[in-house]
């Protein structure tokens, strides 16, 4: 898979996060993953189909997910990942993937996305649809979001 495939996702995060109240959004480490994505605690899966097929796994620690949800809800305290916080995190990944799909479309690739599935647990791992996938960390106000991008 072409490393350029990550750019629409980076652009999407850079575009969306400031709108949700984050000041400083930067790109962190980039690497190649093989076989499994080890969850940090909260992983959101979004599927892609049509001219690009694959899966994106957004990986967060629980504390990060709660901090992001709190900021998205205008600073409302979030002490547990309750329904409202779960909905906010799902919606974030939906917006980012949707925004990336729009970038792909501008480059002539039609992409359709599935609703997000939020996966929560103590210890689990995931396999995205391709054996190798790209891992990019995005850091928004020192909160780390890891994107695992597997495109067939």
């Amino acid at each position: 898979m072409d490393v350029k495939m990550i750019n629409p996702f980076i652009d999407a995060i850079m575009n969306i996060m400031p709108q949700l109240g984050f000041q400083n959004v930067v790109k962190g480490k980039l690497s190649v993953g093989e076989q499994f994505v080890e969850s940090k605690g909260i992983t959101v899966l979004v599927g892609l189909t049509d001219q690009l097929r694959g899966n994106i796994a957004y990986n967060f620690t629980e504390v990060t997910a709660m901090s992001i949800a709190s900021k998205m809800m205008m600073g409302m305290p979030v002490a547990t990942l309750d329904d409202l916080a779960q909905s906010a995190i799902s919606e974030l990944t939906n917006m980012v993937t949707g925004n990336a799909a729009t970038h792909f479309e501008k480059d002539g690739l039609r992409v359709d996305i599935s609703p997000p599935s939020l996966v929560v647990g103590e210890k689990f791992k995931l396999k995205v649809s391709s054996a190798k996938f790209l891992v990019v960390e995005m850091i928004a106000d020192s909160l780390v979001i890891e994107l695992n991008i597997g495109i067939e």
Partner: protein
């Protein structure tokens, strides 16, 4: 027919009037008007309306703040924003909180009615989606029998919101005119036994298990969606599938906030297989 009750939260009597006029002689009735966010929250509790229209600039609080408070009180509340401002940032922040739709003032009656109709029919869609379940159940049981030669001893199904994995789950996203996902979920032990049956081998590797269970799920999803696409006929209603992802781990919760789903459990000689199918509102 019972009218659909709407609460207007807007500090401008002129705007309140425009929205009331837009909804006149329709299936909607305005059950209350609030000029402040606090009054909006108070009236929401009292009146329990079916829909809320929300202005963004209220004298006592930000309109999105008020939306968030209403959604905290009632996560099922259906709120639309009707405001002079409508830009990408507002839409993204509002959507994150749970706002259903955004309209810019002055809103045209036909636009508002069409928008409200879309929100209301998302509920009606549930009946269609429930109807789709039979295609998934048919493909699920048929493929267990055809691909393994085992009998299906019983099939049960239950409706649920949250889902806890038994060890190995395969998720395939559903997109197009209907949005949702299908998940096949089995214990690691059943996954191994089932793979032995699928491959006809006495020994299987983990890799065999992941590949076989994921392809088995893909086949069930493919068969079900093909049948549904045949029923829906028109190209614009077509449903598509995303590739499978696999989740490995016990006591893992799989949550789709806007989704109601059905779990179908098929009991076989080697143990139970669980298929969960869920949809959110159609496009």
């Amino acid at each position: 027919m019972k009218k659909i009750r709407v609460l207007i939260v807007d500090d401008s009597p002129f705007s309140q009037r425009l929205i009331k006029d837009a909804l006149k002689e329709s299936k909607y009735e305005v059950c209350g008007c609030a000029g402040t966010g606090r009054d909006g929250i108070h009236q929401y509790r009292e009146l329990q309306p079916d829909l809320v229209t929300m202005d963004l600039t209220l004298p006592d609080m930000d309109g999105l703040e008020c939306c968030r408070e209403l959604l905290t009180i009632d996560p099922a509340s259906k709120i639309i924003v009707v405001s002079a401002m409508k830009d990408e940032a507002i839409i993204n922040r509002g959507t994150a909180i749970g706002v259903k739709a955004f309209f810019q003032k002055p809103v045209k009656s036909e636009d508002l009615l069409a928008g409200l109709e879309r929100i209301i029919t998302q509920q009606g869609n549930a009946a269609d989606q429930q109807h789709f379940l039979k295609y998934f159940i048919a493909a699920f049981t048929k493929n267990i029998i055809d691909m393994t030669g085992m009998e299906v001893l019983s099939v049960d199904h239950s409706m649920n919101q949250a889902l806890v994995s038994h060890g190995l789950g395969v998720i395939i996203g559903i997109t197009g005119s209907q949005q949702g996902r299908i998940m096949l979920d089995v214990s690691m032990d059943v996954a191994q036994q089932f793979t032995k049956k699928l491959l006809g081998n006495a020994v299987v590797t983990d890799e065999d298990v992941f590949n076989s269970i994921s392809e088995f799920t893909n086949i069930i999803a493919g068969h079900s969606i093909s049948e549904i696409n045949n029923v829906l006929k028109a190209k614009e209603f077509e449903i598509r599938l995303t590739p499978p992802s696999i989740i490995i781990g016990e006591s893992i919760a799989i949550i789709n906030p806007k989704m109601t789903s059905n779990t179908v459990t098929a009991r076989t000689a080697i143990g139970s297989l669980h298929m969960n199918v869920g949809f959110v509102g159609g496009k």
